[in-house]
């Protein structure tokens, strides 16, 4: 897959390639006409940033995500126990009693497990998203700018990847390639490529028809220059929105894979999805806390990321 990231289609210098009809494209961002130059673009950016930093949704989102990042990096700052320490409260102790969020049937402190459980999800999701964004943006720009046969073929392949639920495809890939952490990261990254490519591609198609691209072509600039220096800066807002939205989905997907027991590793290691899976059976016995707290942690992290994504999107549209 990865070597298809930098194809140079035959239509590279064919001007007719960009006159194909535009599809309903890129709605997330009104592209500033770059004729007015860099200065005005920077000013718009500054304005958008100001709106963003004042948005309460953005601040709340950052606080939530910030807390979990802190937990992932320095768990020992937030809890005195280790993830597999037997605590004085004993096993199956109720929350808000001897131990803050209760203890599970193994005698582990649920609060400590939740703090330590932030690490795996916050390692996998961001790396996978970053990889997907780089590949997806590149593919989308190249496909949208050059169009032609390669675009047609790649579009069909990407569509095929999108034609079954991401989680099924993830299970399929993880099963065949083994469930080591690099495989999980690669799988989630790969599966997010099609959606990102589709968004960026339709934005690039819309951009390719604008005057500044035509004039760059007439100046005799290379395709590489036009894609990276002319089109990319104008879709960068869209890329940022995609990045945050996909990060939310990556957390979602990793948590689900972990819940389904497909993330491998030692299942006694703290991990939100795994902890929910191994404890939710006890809910019917009225022991809700060992599974509900990690579930709440997943929910809060996803909501936090989505608050950030949403406020960035709003700021770009303002």
């Amino acid at each position: 897959m990865s070597d298809s990231a930098k194809p140079t289609p035959p239509s590279a210098n064919d001007p007719s390639a960009s006159t194909t009809p535009t599809s309903p494209a890129a709605s997330a961002q009104a592209p500033p006409t770059s004729n007015e130059g860099k200065a005005s673009r920077n000013q718009i950016r500054r304005e958008q940033r100001r709106v963003l930093f004042r948005s309460p949704a953005f601040i709340v989102g950052c606080l939530i995500v910030g807390f979990w990042i802190l937990a992932a990096v320095f768990p020992s700052l937030l809890t005195t126990f280790g993830e597999k320490d037997f605590v004085p409260a004993g096993s199956n102790s109720e929350p808000f009693g001897d131990s803050w969020l209760g203890t599970d049937s193994s005698g582990w402190d649920v609060y400590t497990r939740v703090i330590y459980g932030a690490r795996p999800i916050l390692i996998v999701a961001p790396i996978a998203t970053a990889a997907a964004i780089v590949v997806g943006t590149l593919l989308g720009l190249v496909m949208g700018y050059y169009r032609g046969l390669v675009d047609e073929i790649l579009s069909r392949i990407l569509e095929a990847l999108l034609s079954i639920p991401v989680i099924l495809m993830a299970i399929l890939v993880v099963v065949t390639f083994g469930n080591s952490r690099p495989v999980i990261i690669g799988t989630i990254g790969l599966l997010f490529v099609p959606a990102i490519t589709r968004t960026i591609r339709s934005a690039a198609i819309a951009e390719a028809d604008l005057d500044y691209v035509t004039s760059a072509k007439m100046r005799g600039e290379s395709g590489f220059f036009i894609v990276t220096r002319e089109i990319l800066p104008n879709v960068v807002g869209l890329v940022v929105v995609e990045l945050t939205v996909r990060l939310g989905y990556a957390i979602f997907t990793y948590a689900t894979l972990a819940f389904l027991g497909q993330t491998g590793g030692n299942f006694t290691d703290a991990d939100w999805g795994v902890d929910v899976a191994s404890n939710f059976n006890q809910i019917v016995n009225d022991r809700w806390w060992p599974s509900i707290w990690p579930a709440a942690a997943i929910a809060s992290l996803v909501i936090g990321v989505n608050l950030i994504a949403d406020s960035i999107d709003k700021a770009l549209k303002s």
Binding site: P21, S23, P24, S155, R156, I157, E159, A160, L161, S163, I164, P165, V166, I167, L168, I171, L172, V173, V175, T176, F177, G178, G248, F252, A255, T256, F259, L260, G261, Q262, V276, F280, I283, V284, D286, W288, S291, I292, A295, I298, A299, V302, I303, V305, N306, D310
Partner: protein
């Protein structure tokens, strides 16, 4: 219209063929011994040989692809480890998923469309903000997380809600009662998304000239919505529903696990845990076919609602 449907169908078949190719080729691409990865490290040599055979790895890739095509054409995917025909097993879980999905749609679609339209009509009021923000918050949460919450806060305290979604052999009403919790979980996940799409479509339609004219002609709000707004506002909703239907069928792997419901999702995860690759392959293909049919239907419905859309097919 017929030409449109045929063209659209051909495109879907191409997509499906590529997917079939990917699924068939996947085990061949894996480094090391894929059979060992599928069967697990402690599998006996006999089991390993069996899995290798199941994966088709003893044959050339061309033969494997030929076999895949044959099994799709004849709907014969071999037998499971305990000797049942794969096709029958898949059919049973498809039927279970169908029940869950139908009930979910019956609840979700009217509620989200109503929610989206109300939000659009009351745009920028607290009603609008509540619908949008609550929906957004819930739709971000993974389905199994919503399921676990429902289990703890509805399933256990209230006798009325059942923690097991499956009630084999029970009357239809009892079955529906058992399915309520997963349906609510699906509602939580999809309401925000669908309502948001409907809201955006409705706002556009409400802004249009024909709507203003209709209001000025003195039509009641109800009549304007019925005969002018709905047709235009709901096109994006129908499109999204089409794509989400496939996800409803196969994407609820974790949710089905929470409520021990034997749908396609559970079938697939059981196939994974039992290292039954033919079952896995057939289940995934079934989901893909349903997804294809759903998006196709959605496109046809949209083409019916909006003649202009018929022209732009293929230019995705």
């Amino acid at each position: 219209m017929l030409r449109f449907i045929i063209r659209r169908l051909l495109l879907s078949l191409v997509t499906l063929a590529i997917l079939l190719l990917i699924i068939t080729a996947l085990p061949n691409l894996a480094p090391g011994d894929p059979a060992r990865k599928v069967a697990g490290g402690t599998a006996s040599p006999e089991r390993l040989a069996q899995v290798t055979e199941d994966l088709g790895l003893n044959d050339s890739i061309i033969t494997q692809i030929g076999d895949s095509v044959t099994s799709v054409a004849t709907l014969d995917f071999g037998t499971t480890a305990d000797g049942r025909p794969v096709t029958d097993v898949v059919r049973t879980s498809l039927w279970n998923s169908f029940k869950l999905v139908t009930l979910s749609l019956l609840v979700i679609v009217p509620l989200s469309i109503l929610g989206g339209m109300v939000a659009a009509y009351k745009k920028d009021t607290w009603i609008d903000r509540t619908i949008v923000n609550v929906g957004l918050a819930f739709s971000a949460i993974p389905d199994f997380v919503a399921g676990v919450f429902l289990l703890a806060f509805l399933g256990v305290p209230f006798e009325f809600f059942k923690v097991q979604a499956n009630a084999p052999g029970a009357g239809p009403l009892t079955q529906i009662q058992h399915l309520l919790l997963p349906v609510i979980a699906v509602l939580a996940v999809y309401f925000g998304y669908l309502a948001r799409i409907t809201r955006a479509g409705t706002i556009n339609a409400l802004d249009a000239d024909y709507t203003r004219t209709a209001f000025m002609r003195g039509l009641s709000t109800r009549d304007v919505f019925k005969s002018h707004v709905a047709r235009n506002a709901l096109q994006p909703t129908v499109a999204v529903l089409g794509t989400q239907l496939g996800y409803l069928f196969g994407g609820m792997v974790a949710l089905e696990q929470v409520f021990t419901y034997p749908g396609v999702g559970k079938l697939i995860i059981d196939a994974v845990n039992g290292a039954e690759y033919p079952l896995l392959r057939a289940g995934v293909l079934a989901v893909a076919v349903i997804y294809m049919l759903a998006t196709l239907t959605a496109d046809v419905v949209i083409a019916y609602m909006n003649p202009r859309a018929r022209l732009s097919v293929g230019d995705s």
